[in-house]
Symmetry: C2
Subunit: 396 residues, 2 copies
């Protein structure tokens, strides 16, 4: 897709494959500069809010705006579409609407939310969460990346004032309706044979940090029976995660990040940190999966003479998108299907405050958060047209 | 201990605890500079050989020298004693011998071997292996650290010429006898109630890199049954490592380092790299443990729709130290006990070429490769006296 091609050299991760673009790192700052230039080239006025989110206004800013957009950051080694497709499509939709001779009858903005993936500071949807007051500013500012840089430090380096971070009622009031276009992260549209759909709901979703502490020692000199090896207990936790999720209909639980400390080949680790990502249809099921994992972790750690702690880093209950808006937009698009998703989005955070909808663009493999993530040009174009149609209907 | 106290600010690892000092990194270069200054202050002439090992000569260099020393690098987050105790004790023994009015009747050197732990480039005893021709120079120079810096690049940055790396018969010929003093990495001397002992043997020891490849995907949007998750297979490998080592008398096998790629909380990894450290009394037992782990890894990977590869990164058969030298030194020390060790050492590499011995200093907890590694001042002092006695008997 045209706009995405502009970004293909930014944040390339040669080691992991794909892209690594995280909140306020060099790649994400370059993407922000790209967005600002593109918006300004269209005559949109760009501003950065207190929480690091970028707003490009078509006409005068004001309350009750029609807002569209997504994010530009990625997971580590992520694909090209998750995030940027929604931003590029928003700008392209502005072009389409102008081509149609349309001028919004309401305030209208394109937004880029900061650190949606949580790939640097661990909490997903950080920009929208801060804006909506869904995370304590002090707690957020203390979050640190793997190099120990805090969010406060990273924001300061990017020219933002950490003291101004937090719930932003003015920004929230300006959003009348939010529509986020996103590549689908599954094969729902492939199975239905259509290029575009609307979102019905997002699974309940949380992240937990699990730390197993044992006794660091020499890998050669320590007898097997004398060990308190947290890696062995952590491996049991990984298997419990799989087992517990399989036992609950619709649940998904994953360990994608695991860090032994100190991490030497010839060293029994003194501790292992791992992160649990757990999701299910509702709060009760999600909590049940996590409770079972916690019990298994306790027992695995005890068996190995280790100690385990488990800390919730973020949690969000199931999001059901505004059904009236959803059905109305599906109607504008000629009756496209509505699909649930297991992925979290800024739209899910905002849905608690304003009418919010999402459009999905078909993903031929369903793969996401990986370099193989993809959408055909024709489907991306269909997404832009659909987004323009929807925005036109809302901003009349 | 006096000399060790000089080093306590170098390479402190605030994140892991303990010290991280790896071949040719800033900390290790600082330690080399410290050693050079200390040796020169004693009137010893310091030279760096083709493979990055430092030699400090008491008197004129020559063939058939009495050589003592150890290494200054650590495992990631290692203790203060493993390596530096042997170097500091060697310099202190020179002081003791001079205090006794002793002058060596043979060439005499203190040596510091490079990258003994393999904490940066993955292969243990790299400096002594290269010197002894126990690793191909081209293969060694291609080794890379976690940031992708090769050994060749690191050596060049440190002012060394990678083209000169490799078997060094001149250096080898200069070593008549090598004696390495080391903190014990186990509780053998504690149980015997003595401060110093000599080494009898080192276990057979190898390192393997295990890569499990699956399918990277979204942690929320991918159904559990659709996954090919290499982390789940890797967890099975970790448990197989424990199980296989427990099944063979005296064997030890460890996974201390594990890296998921890309390593995001909300991402099913596309692959997981883990490193196996396996040791046993002899070659047959070590190979048996590794073969069983390999079979379990194949089966775990297949069950998860993943593919596993296993690459030997280093291997050394059992080392039995020269029994005549061992008994002679034990006699000089009044009949101290001889102990086997599970830990690898440069002395183990050199033992295939020259008469080699080791002295161990009591470690009250037995813990090593961790910040808790320790030896009492009195035991360190007993180690220095013992080393001086032994060197005097050899260098007469």
């Amino acid at each position: 897709m045209t706009g995405l091609a502009d970004l293909e050299d930014i944040g390339v991760d040669a080691r992991r494959g794909g892209f690594s673009r995280h909140g306020y790192d060099l790649a994400e700052l370059e993407l922000r500069a790209w967005f600002t230039a593109e918006a300004q080239a269209r005559g949109l006025a760009v501003e950065c809010d207190r929480n690091g989110n970028l707003w490009a206004w078509w006409g005068a800013p004001g309350d009750g705006a029609v807002v569209t957009g997504s994010h530009l950051d990625s997971v580590p080694g992520g694909g090209a579409f998750d995030g940027p497709l929604g931003v590029v499509s928003a700008l392209a939709a502005v072009d389409v609407l102008r081509g149609r001779g349309f001028t919004p009858g309401k305030p209208f903005a394109v937004v880029v939310f900061a650190e949606e993936e949580g790939g640097r500071f661990g909490v997903a949807c950080l920009g929208s969460r801060l804006l909506a007051g869904a995370i304590e500013p002090a707690a957020a500012l203390r979050l640190s990346d793997p190099d120990g840089v805090t969010l406060a430090e990273a924001m300061r380096s990017a020219g933002l004032d950490p003291a101004r971070v937090g719930r932003d009622p003015e920004a929230l009031k300006r959003i009348g309706t939010f529509v986020e276009l996103h590549v689908e992260q599954g094969r729902g549209l492939v199975d239905l044979g259509v290029p575009v759909g609307v979102a019905s709901s997002i699974l309940a979703h949380g992240r937990w940090r699990v730390t197993v502490s044992g006794e660091g020692n020499h890998a050669g000199a320590t007898l097997m029976v004398d060990r308190r090896d947290p890696m062995v207990a952590a491996a049991q936790v990984v298997l419990a995660v799989r087992r517990s999720a399989l036992a609950v209909e619709g649940a998904r639980a994953t360990v994608g990040r695991l860090v032994p400390n100190p991490g030497g080949t010839n060293v029994i680790p003194s501790s292992v940190d791992l992160w649990l990502d757990a999701r299910a249809d509702d709060d009760a099921r999600t909590r049940a999966v996590v409770a079972e994992i916690a019990a298994a972790a306790e027992s695995a750690a005890a068996e190995e003479g280790c100690v385990v702690t488990m800390t919730e880093e973020s949690y969000g209950d199931t999001v059901v998108f505004d059904p009236v808006l959803r059905d109305s937009l599906a109607g504008v698009l000629g009756g496209v299907p509505a699909l649930p998703t297991g992925a979290g989005h800024d739209a899910g955070i905002l849905a608690a405050h304003v009418p919010t909808a999402m459009l999905f663009v078909r993903n031929p493999t369903g793969i996401s958060h990986a370099p193989a993530e993809f959408a055909e040009d024709a489907d991306c174009a269909a997404g832009v047209t659909a987004l323009a149609d929807v925005l036109e209907s809302l901003a009349r």
